[in-house]
Symmetry: C2
Subunit: 319 residues, 2 copies
């Protein structure tokens, strides 16, 4: 085992201790669908997704290093926004979230309800990175990156760590792949558990930059924000640190892509057979399983990352 | 504590030991919705509802008493059918299920897939009891009643028993009320745990025979099978044994009714806030909570009994 892996796995262990009491230990569940599956439904995590694990670890680590910032900032219209809002208010640090003007009002309201300041005026998907830098310069707030951050990666690794504590004999672990925060944390925890444990990332075929990055050995970028049901993985490229963990160090064995039809089918299976109300992004590993794209018959852990679905979309899928 | 309660609680403990390995221990979950709640989501039970607990206990008890029958029989178009089919095939006893001709074909297929023989020809809601007696006489099969049976009641009591093992400080426990199998088992386990623990049954206002039986002190019957979203509690009267436990011995403190609008709202809350894909019947205790009809602020366990919803119905509710 390399020093790189050992050191990062050690940090995942520290993250687990640090965030305990702030996040939930979600159950590891078996299902009638397939006895070889072990599900880790992070839809039951606080705020409805795995994201608070990384956000709490990042903000608690900042404070523990004696660097209590005047505030933290994040750019997100989704699960990361709510996670940072919750973690900051729990730790007693102001949070500012930049959300594009056209975002879902329900998600904006949920972020504000968790105590964060939200700026939407003049924010677009295109200019948000620049506005972020401006606001950081003005206020001295510290960025909590959604994936390209070691503390965030270590926090997200606690999902697989728990899954493997509850089911140490798993042979395969699959997680969604967007920017790579969850998958790189998963890979660290899984390969530390057993080097032969197969780690699989699942992403929409419509957003296959991760797949192409894995195949080519360098970070590939999508030309534009992709159109996919899995709106939690619309980032146009994986992060530098995530690439380093997943593909430079080879801790991810394979990236599998799934079609929009396969994602839709998985959401329906999740509801009707698993009784889990997953968001499409959270159903990505299930989509790969149902489509026969994971190694069948082997004991497989599926990390189902969240449940904050758009109800209209889901209602249409169920019909 | 009365002998009646002690003896039946002892039987619930025996049922727990007997059915272990055949049913799942479902998690006891906390939720962002209200920190006072503890959820027991039986939608994650094998076959998607709590029903196998009673069915396994009944069939295993029959066999343990040395009375292995030529077969077992049940009348159901829903969760009890699948539960009896699974329990019988696991134990190696033939199962015959009478299902009315107009039942949902998906449920019929699911029951057959679990190894049961299904008779639908000529079976109606009105004549099914008579056909049942005819078939029992012909074949010598033993009835597994859906609720008016001690072994079934003791099996269903294992839900609350587990919930209270995981959360011993609960002050209120609420469960759906149809025929009374689940609620009478719940009441036995809860009152044995702590006599001051409040036990509440929740039923649709459209099917309020249980409420009226509680108020009047005798079994009240609905004139016809009621029209309600909560299709798992359309029985027209509670059972004799269930009445005895719940109201004669006073182990149930209160029956609360909820409107169809409250049930629909609860299904939506279950999906969007709890991320649980519940069937309307399974959401009854949540409906009472959301409507403010349970004692608020006290530590309350909600037994969410199942997840086998009609997808069309749910899709309409989510819109």
């Amino acid at each position: 085992m390399t020093n790189f892996l050992e050191e990062h796995a050690e940090q995942v262990g520290r993250a687990a201790a640090r965030i305990k009491g702030h996040v939930r230990r979600t159950p590891a569940m078996t299902t009638d669908l397939d006895p070889a599956l072990r599900l880790k439904p992070e839809c039951f995590q606080v705020t409805g997704s795995f994201k608070p694990r990384g956000a709490f670890n990042a903000i608690l680590s900042l404070v523990a290093r004696g660097a209590r910032p005047p505030g933290v900032i994040a750019v997100s219209s989704g699960n990361h926004a709510q996670a940072v809002a919750l973690a900051a208010s729990s730790v007693g640090v102001p949070a500012l979230i930049l959300i594009p003007e056209d975002a879902n009002p329900a998600k904006v309201a949920a972020t504000r309800a968790l105590g964060a300041e939200v700026i939407q005026e003049g924010i677009t998907f295109a200019n948000r990175e620049q506005r972020l830098r401006e606001v950081m310069a003005e206020r001295g707030y510290v960025l909590v990156h959604p994936f390209d951050d070691w503390d965030v990666i270590h926090g997200q690794g606690t999902v697989a760590r728990e899954l493997l504590e509850d089911g140490p004999d798993l042979e395969v672990v699959a997680a969604p792949l967007g920017g790579g925060g969850l998958l790189s944390g998963t890979a660290i925890a899984a390969k530390r558990h057993r080097p032969s444990l197969k780690v699989v990332g699942v992403e929409p075929a419509a957003a296959d930059d991760g797949y192409r990055s894995w195949r080519s050995g360098s970070i590939q970028t999508l030309g534009a924000s992709p159109s996919t049901l899995a709106d939690g993985v619309r980032t146009t490229a994986i992060g530098k640190r995530n690439f380093e963990v997943m593909f430079e160090h080879g801790l991810v064995d394979e990236v599998v892509t799934v079609t929009e039809e396969e994602i839709a089918a998985a959401v329906k299976v999740a509801w009707s057979r698993l009784h889990l109300a997953l968001e499409p992004t959270g159903a990505l590993p299930l989509a790969a399983h149902v489509a026969g794209k994971l190694t069948e018959g082997r004991r497989t852990g599926l990390i189902l990352s969240g449940g904050n679905a758009n109800l209209q979309t889901v209602a249409t899928l169920l019909k």
